[in-house]
């Protein structure tokens, strides 16, 4: 075991896979020599050479498009988009090409590739360094969409993603890169060194895709969360004295519906959290599934706490980010509903 930040865990996952499989190729903007603007690929070019880890021009559709070409040749590209906010120029390649390659060619060509991208707010990133675009990927058939919340999961999930034969969108909450964050921005930042999930095994292991993690067991209400919101959920439940069952979904698509249904059948109440904007966000899919599969067990409406339906603001960061106060209110409403 080693102590790692999420950055180190992500880097270690790529290191492990590059060492095991020479078809794994890593590239993106500033990813090579410099080691990435978040240091996630530091040292990989030095260790594996410029053919395995290299810098790319500033062109997201080319990065993804060339990655698809490589994947159809037989490589396993693990590519980086510098910020999830900048993935949109590549959206055509992701949706029309990577996601559909297997289906449209009836399995002749496949796109086993990972598209990593830092996501989420809480860092004064403003409009284009804070967004959470997961819903634009979960809506696309053929893609898998993952989001880890801690170093242990980040490494195991990224190795699983690289080994997966389908294209995987790998969202990395940059707010969690150096330590967990519960939304209490007024407090000092804590580091992964003091967190149990900062213990990361060396070498190869996987966290299976499509399996949620019950972070805390509880009886009063089920909280569905992922990424940074997992820690906000924990803080909010504790502060309200509510015995919440907190589920870190980890994999949005495929989704671990069984774990969700089992929990809501037990608690009878459900609150869905995400940083992304509310309308047509992934929370809408979760709420719909819960009401469809748990209708008879529900004792209260399914509530959603999300980012407001506005672009992500700069100065109003903490009025926008769904912190423990707003989550706490929703939890109270959910458990008090008759």
């Amino acid at each position: 075991m080693a102590r790692m930040t999420m950055i180190e865990a992500i880097r270690d996952a790529m290191d492990v896979k590059m060492g095991m499989d020479e078809d794994v190729v890593v590239f993106g903007e500033d990813v090579g020599y410099f080691g990435g603007v978040f240091r996630c690929t530091q040292g990989l070019q030095q260790k594996y050479g410029k053919h395995r880890c290299f810098d790319a021009p500033i062109n997201e559709s080319a990065i993804v498009g060339a990655g698809i070409g490589m994947a159809t040749y037989g490589k396993r590209p693990c590519i980086e988009i510098q910020f999830a906010d900048y993935v949109l120029p590549a959206y055509d390649q992701i949706v029309s090409e990577a996601a559909r390659m297997r289906h449209r060619s009836n399995g002749q060509f496949t796109a086993p590739m990972v598209i990593r991208m830092p996501t989420g707010g809480g860092i004064f990133g403003g409009q284009t360094h804070s967004q959470s675009p997961e819903a634009i990927f979960t809506h696309v058939s053929g893609l898998k969409t993952l989001i880890p919340s801690n170093p242990y999961d980040a490494k195991g999930m990224l190795i699983a993603a690289i080994e997966d034969d389908d294209p995987v969108i790998f969202l990395e909450p940059k707010r969690l890169y150096n330590g967990p964050f519960d939304g209490h921005h007024e407090n000092a930042v804590t580091s992964w060194a003091k967190h149990e999930k900062g213990e990361v095994p060396e070498g190869h292991y996987t966290v299976p895709i499509g399996k949620a993690n019950v972070v805390e067991e509880g009886m009063d209400v089920t909280i569905l969360a992922y990424g940074t919101m997992v820690y906000v959920a924990q803080a909010a439940a504790k502060e309200q004295g509510i015995d919440a069952e907190i589920i870190d979904l980890r994999s949005l698509l495929p989704l671990d519906l069984d774990t969700i249904v089992r929990s809501v059948e037990k608690t009878g109440r459900c609150v869905v959290l995400h940083e992304a904007t509310l309308t047509s966000g992934f929370g809408a899919e979760l709420a719909a599934l819960v009401q469809q599969h748990c209708f008879k067990h529900l004792e209260a409406p399914v509530l959603r706490v999300a980012g407001w339906d506005t672009p992500y603001p700069h100065a109003q960061e903490w009025h926008y980010f769904p912190g423990p106060k707003r989550v706490g209110k929703a939890l109270k409403r959910a458990v008090e509903a008759q």
């Binding site: 190729v25 395995r52 559709s61 498009g65 055509d92 390659m101 449209r104 009836n106 053929g142």
Partner: protein, 420 residues
């Protein structure tokens, strides 16, 4: 202030919206294309630097003279590749492609398929290029390169089954007609989204080079789609990483109803685009089968010897409608294709072979009839397995397959719901 004379002000500012030289009812006008004499353009060594052959982007490589003779340095460059047997095969590849198109056009009119795209007038380009590709190389085609398959000896039966979306369709009905995928023939899965495959071809070639392999890739795009972002993306990555790729632009003058001036094609030839990225380009008579062979050989050899990418602009004319859903008489002169200065690729190669004594009008007529019967027989065989809306068709449940390698739970649930 200098004493330079400034142009007169011409009133308020305005934009320029390009118009083709002729609209319906007008006389065709191809004065915008300067056609050099066959043999007039030099053939540089394949390791020539881009800057030393920039002028080739502004001319047109041509081999077949008006009289049907093979002339000039590009004919010499072909060397042993220029023999009667090879050219007769090329002629037959083009004949097959044209007859296949004509039969499928009729089949669409008869309701046997929903859609078809001909390549009438452009047969030389794909069939000629394919002759210079080797097993294991990969073409990233558009929907108008069926000639790659025919010259690559793909089964016409398989092609027709795909067009009919019948029970033998190799894509199980997932794809529109003509959006083929034949990996074993080096023919990449076609997408409806224009330009996307251009940068994928570059990535595929990068992967070959990263692996130390000897395979090359070839990208295809039309004149209209060069306006897409991914054209730039492909050119950029080709320029930066110098992978073994040939970047083809088939300039058939038209993108549905838009003439190529609307894609920026009148301000500079498409071939000139390569020089902004610093790699060589050729501009080639796309209706001259020998010129196609020669330029394809030049560019593929460059790629195989790790000399980097080449752009080729194939100058041709889209004789047919854009697709079976299009009526060109609504936007261009009816007789425009007759006036096309580079003529018909089949007629031009035929003339050459007749002149050499390797072919005759009689043999040509006979060969056309033979190929037509062959295609009809294959078509009939394919129809045994159904046409669109007739026969069994692909198993409906197959629409759930291949979305992922293994079917996730939510799709399993939907398939069960579908059955119920």
């Amino acid at each position: 202030m200098s004493d330079q004379k400034m142009p007169e002000a011409s009133g308020p500012l305005s934009i320029s919206v390009p118009e083709p030289p002729g609209r319906p009812g007008d006389a065709p006008d191809f004065s915008y294309i300067e056609v050099p004499k066959a043999g007039a353009v030099e053939c540089p060594a394949i390791d020539t630097k881009a800057e030393d052959m920039r002028h080739l982007a502004y001319s047109i490589v041509r081999v077949l003279s008006r009289k049907g003779d093979a002339v000039g340095p590009w004919a010499e460059f072909l060397g042993d590749d220029l023999n009667d047997e090879s050219l007769l095969r090329g002629l037959k590849d083009m004949m097959k492609t044209r007859i296949f198109d004509a039969r499928m056009l009729t089949a669409q009119r008869q309701g046997k398929t929903s859609f078809y795209t001909q390549c009438l007038g452009e047969e030389a380009i794909a069939t000629g290029f394919q002759r210079m590709m080797r097993k294991g190389d990969m073409n990233f085609p558009t929907y108008r390169q069926q000639g790659l398959l025919i010259a690559g000896e793909c089964s016409m039966f398989d092609m027709i089954c795909q067009i009919y979306s019948n029970e033998k369709d190799n894509l199980d009905g997932h794809q529109l007609p003509c959006l083929y995928s034949f990996k074993e023939h080096g023919f990449f899965s076609i997408s409806g989204n224009l330009g996307t495959q251009y940068v994928q071809a570059v990535g595929w070639a990068m992967a070959s080079a990263i692996s130390g392999d000897d395979k090359i890739a070839s990208a295809w795009i039309g004149d209209g789609s060069t306006a897409e972002t991914d054209f730039h993306s492909g050119m950029l990555f080709a320029s930066v990483y110098q992978p073994p790729v040939v970047l083809n632009i088939v300039n058939n003058q038209w993108a549905i109803s838009s003439f190529n001036g609307l894609a920026g094609g009148r301000n500079a030839p498409f071939a000139a685009r390569a020089h902004g990225y610093g790699f060589p380009s050729l501009r080639v008579d796309g209706n001259d089968y020998l010129a196609v062979l020669a330029a394809s050989k030049w560019a593929t050899e460059r790629a195989r010897r790790n000399l980097g990418p080449t752009l080729i602009e194939w100058v041709t004319y889209r004789v047919a409608a854009h697709s079976t859903s299009d009526d060109p008489s609504a936007y261009r002169p009816k007789e425009e294709s007759d006036a096309w200065p580079l003529g018909d690729p089949l007629e031009r190669l035929k003339l050459h072979l007749i002149k050499k004594g390797a072919w005759s009008e009689e043999r040509h007529t006979q060969a056309m009839a033979e190929i037509e019967s062959e295609v009809i027989a294959i078509q009939k065989e394919a129809e045994k397995y159904g046409t669109l809306n007739r026969g069994k068709g692909p198993d409906p449940e197959k629409m759930f397959e291949g979305v992922y390698k293994e079917m996730p739970d939510h799709l399993v649930r939907q398939r069960l719901e579908f059955e119920a």
